[in-house]
C-alpha cells in the first residue's frame, strides 16, 4: 500500500498531478470521513424518507378530511419549493427556535446539529415524493384483494401492513429507486450548512492544497460509484422482492 502512495506522490513531483488527498494520511483521513458522512447521511435519509412515505400514504387513506388535506399540503409544499431553501429554513429559521441542551462540558449547545438538520430537511423533502409514489402503488393494488383480507378479519392497519404495503412496494419500486438515488445525490447540498460531507471536505482540501481539478475528478468518481452502488443494491432488492408469476 505504502509503495502505491509513493507512486502517487511521485506522480505529483514529476507530472504535477496532485493526488495529495490519497497519499497524504491526514488528507486521506478527512476525505474518508467525509465520504463516510455522505454514506451515513444518505442511508439515514433514505430510511427516514421511506418511513415518512409509508406513514403519509397510510394517512392519505384516512377518512378525516383535515388529515388528508394536511398531508396533501405537506406534499405540495415540499415538492414545489427548492430543497436548498427548505434546508436553510430548517437550519437557520427553525434551528434557533429549538431548546438548547447543556453538554458534558457544561456548555449550552443546540439540540440538533447541522447533520441532524440536514437529515430532517432532506428526509422531509424526499418523503413528500415517497408519499405520492407509495400512494400510486397503493392505488394499483386491487380492491378485491383488500376485500378478501377484510373478509378474513384483518383490521385496517393489518390490511395495510400485510397486504397493501407489500404489494404497493412491488408496484412502485422503479419510481421509488429513482427518487432514492436522487436523494443520495441531493445530500451534497448539506454542504451549504457546513455538514462535513464529501463535497464540503473536498472543498476544504482543494482550498488548502490547490488541486481543484484532481479533487473534482475524485468527487465525480466517488458520486458515480455511490450512485452505481445504490442502483446495484436496489436491483438486488428488486430481485429479492420478486414473486414468481406476479407483476405486469
Amino acid at each position: 500500500m505504502d509503495s502505491f502512495w509513493e507512486l502517487l506522490r511521485g506522480l505529483h513531483d514529476s507530472y504535477g498531478i496532485n493526488l495529495v488527498h490519497f497519499y497524504d494520511g491526514f488528507e486521506r483521513g478527512r476525505l474518508l470521513r467525509g465520504m463516510w458522512t455522505t454514506v451515513k447521511l444518505a442511508v439515514i435519509c433514505i430510511v427516514l424518507s421511506v418511513v415518512i412515505g409509508m406513514i403519509g400514504a397510510w394517512l392519505q387513506g384516512s377518512r378525516l378530511k383535515l388529515l388528508k388535506a394536511l398531508v396533501q399540503g405537506y406534499i405540495q409544499f415540499f415538492r414545489n419549493t427548492p430543497p436548498l431553501v427548505q434546508m436553510y429554513f430548517f437550519y437557520f429559521a427553525l434551528g434557533p427556535q429549538m431548546p438548547r441542551i447543556v453538554n458534558e462540558h457544561g456548555i449550552a449547545q443546540p439540540m440538533l446539529g447541522s447533520f441532524e438538520w440536514a437529515v430532517l430537511s432532506l428526509s422531509f423533502f424526499a418523503g413528500a415524493f415517497n408519499v405520492e409514489i407509495f400512494r400510486s402503488g397503493i392505488e394499483a393494488v386491487q380492491k378485491s384483494t383488500v376485500e378478501a383480507a377484510d373478509s378474513l378479519g384483518f383490521n385496517r392497519l393489518q390490511i395495510y401492513w400485510y397486504v397493501v404495503l407489500p404489494l404497493a412496494i412491488r408496484f412502485c419500486l422503479p419510481a421509488l429507486n429513482n427518487n432514492l438515488v436522487n436523494l443520495a445525490k441531493t445530500t451534497t447540498q448539506a454542504y451549504a450548512i457546513a455538514v462535513p460531507e464529501t463535497l464540503f471536505v473536498a472543498s476544504q482540501i482543494w482550498s488548502d492544497r490547490i488541486n481543484v481539478f484532481e479533487m473534482m475528478i475524485t468527487l465525480l468518481t466517488f458520486y458515480l460509484l455511490l450512485v452505481g452502488m445504490f442502483v446495484w443494491i436496489m436491483a438486488r432488492v428488486e430481485r429479492a422482492l420478486h414473486v414468481p408469476g406476479f407483476g405486469r
Binding site: 387513506g61 384516512s62 377518512r63 399540503g73 405540495q76 409544499f77 415538492r79 414545489n80 419549493t81 427548492p82 430543497p83 436548498l84 431553501v85 427548505q86 436553510y88 429554513f89 437557520f92 429559521a93 427553525l94 434557533p96 427556535q97 397503493i138 392505488e139 394499483a140 393494488v141 386491487q142 380492491k143 378485491s144 383488500v146 376485500e147 383480507a149 377484510d150 385496517r156 390490511i159 397493501v164 438515488v181 445525490k185 441531493t186 445530500t187 451534497t188 447540498q189 454542504y191 451549504a192 463535497l199 472543498s203 482543494w206 481543484v212 481539478f213 473534482m216 468527487l219 465525480l220 458520486y223 458515480l224 450512485v227 452505481g228
Partner: protein, 294 residues
C-alpha cells in the same frame, strides 16, 4: 377496476373519475385553492410571529410585515441598477433550460445514431451528467472554466451567473436526452418504414416525421424538468451569484433580528411555490390530456 381506498367495508361508491381533457378538469380549477391555502398559512405564521415579537420586545423595531414589504423589491429584482434576486433565478432557469433542451435534443438523437461510436459516447455523456450531483457539476463549471475567453482577439467575459447557468444546464441536458430517446423509441416502427419508403433520409425522417410526433409526449416531462431546474437555481447562491437566496441572507444579515428568520425564509419559499406549483399542476393537466388522446 376499483382500487383500494382504505377500509373496504367503509368504501362507498367509487369517486367519479375527473373528466379528462378540455372538459372541466383544468389546472386552473386546482391552483387558486392551494395557492390561497399556502399564502394563508404564511400570513398566519407571520402575524403570529409579529404578535409574539411585539409581546417580547415592545421596542421601537419595525414591524415584521413592514420589514418584509421593505425587502421584497430587493429580493425579487436585486439591487438597483443591477440584475439579481428572484428575477435572476427565473432568467437563469430560462437560459439553462434553453441550453439544456438544445444540447439534450442532439444528445438524445446521438443515442439512436446508426454509428456505434456516436451512440456509445452519447450514452456515456448522458449517464455521466444524469448521475452526478447538481452541486458538484456546478462547482466543476464554476472553478474550472476561465472568467473570460478570448476569441479572435475579442475578450468575452464570463460572469459568474453565466457560468452557473451553464453548470445547471448540464444535468438538464442529460435528463432531456433521456426523454428524447424514450419518446423516439415509443414511435411505432411503421412510421420509420413509411418515411423510408417515401425516400426520406434518416435525418429528414427524424426531424420531419418522428420528432414532431414526439413533441406532445415530451412536453409534460420537459416541463417537469423545468420545475426541477427552477427549484435548483438557489444552488447558485452557494457559488456566489446574487440570486434571491443570497439577497435574503444579505437582508437578514443587515437586519440582525432573529424574529425575522422564519418570515424571511418563509417568504422565499412562498415565492418559489407560487411560481412552481402552477407549473406542476399544468404539467399534470397536460399529462392527462395527452394520455387520453393517445
Amino acid at each position: 377496476m376499483r382500487r383500494y381506498q382504505g377500509d373496504a367495508s367503509c368504501a362507498g361508491p367509487a369517486e367519479p373519475a375527473p373528466p379528462a381533457g378540455e372538459s372541466g378538469y383544468t389546472a386552473a380549477n386546482f391552483t387558486p385553492r392551494a395557492l390561497a391555502i399556502v399564502l394563508g398559512v404564511f400570513c398566519v405564521v407571520v402575524l403570529a410571529g409579529e404578535a409574539l415579537a411585539q409581546m417580547r420586545s415592545g421596542g421601537p423595531s419595525r414591524s415584521i410585515v413592514a420589514t418584509l414589504v421593505a425587502w421584497t423589491p430587493l429580493i425579487l429584482f436585486g439591487p438597483p441598477r443591477e440584475f439579481g434576486g428572484f428575477a435572476l433565478n427565473i432568467a437563469v432557469s430560462f437560459l439553462a433550460m434553453a441550453i439544456g433542451t438544445v444540447a439534450g435534443l442532439f444528445l438524445g438523437i446521438g443515442q439512436i445514431s446508426l454509428s456505434p461510436a456516436v451512440r456509445k459516447v452519447s450514452w456515456a455523456i448522458t449517464q455521466f451528467f444524469r448521475n452526478s450531483p447538481w452541486l458538484v457539476l456546478l462547482f466543476f463549471v464554476m472553478l474550472l472554466t476561465p472568467f473570460q475567453i478570448k476569441i479572435a482577439g475579442y475578450t468575452i467575459p464570463l460572469p459568474a451567473w453565466l457560468k452557473a447557468t451553464f453548470g445547471l444546464s448540464l444535468p438538464v441536458m442529460a435528463n432531456f436526452a433521456e426523454i428524447v430517446r424514450g419518446s423516439i423509441n415509443s414511435i411505432p416502427t411503421s412510421q420509420w418504414e413509411s418515411a423510408e419508403s417515401l425516400a426520406f433520409t434518416r435525418m429528414q425522417t427524424i426531424w420531419r416525421i418522428i420528432l414532431p410526433q414526439c413533441v406532445k409526449r415530451m412536453t409534460p416531462p420537459w416541463m417537469n424538468w423545468y420545475a426541477i431546474l427552477t427549484m435548483a437555481t438557489p444552488l447558485i447562491s452557494i457559488v456566489g451569484v446574487n440570486d434571491a437566496m443570497t439577497l435574503t441572507q444579505d437582508a437578514l444579515a443587515a437586519e440582525q433580528r432573529s424574529e425575522l428568520l422564519m418570515p424571511m425564509y418563509g417568504l422565499l419559499l412562498v415565492f418559489f411555490f407560487v411560481y412552481c406549483y402552477p407549473i406542476a399542476r399544468w404539467t399534470i393537466y397536460l399529462e392527462r390530456k395527452f394520455a387520453v388522446r393517445s
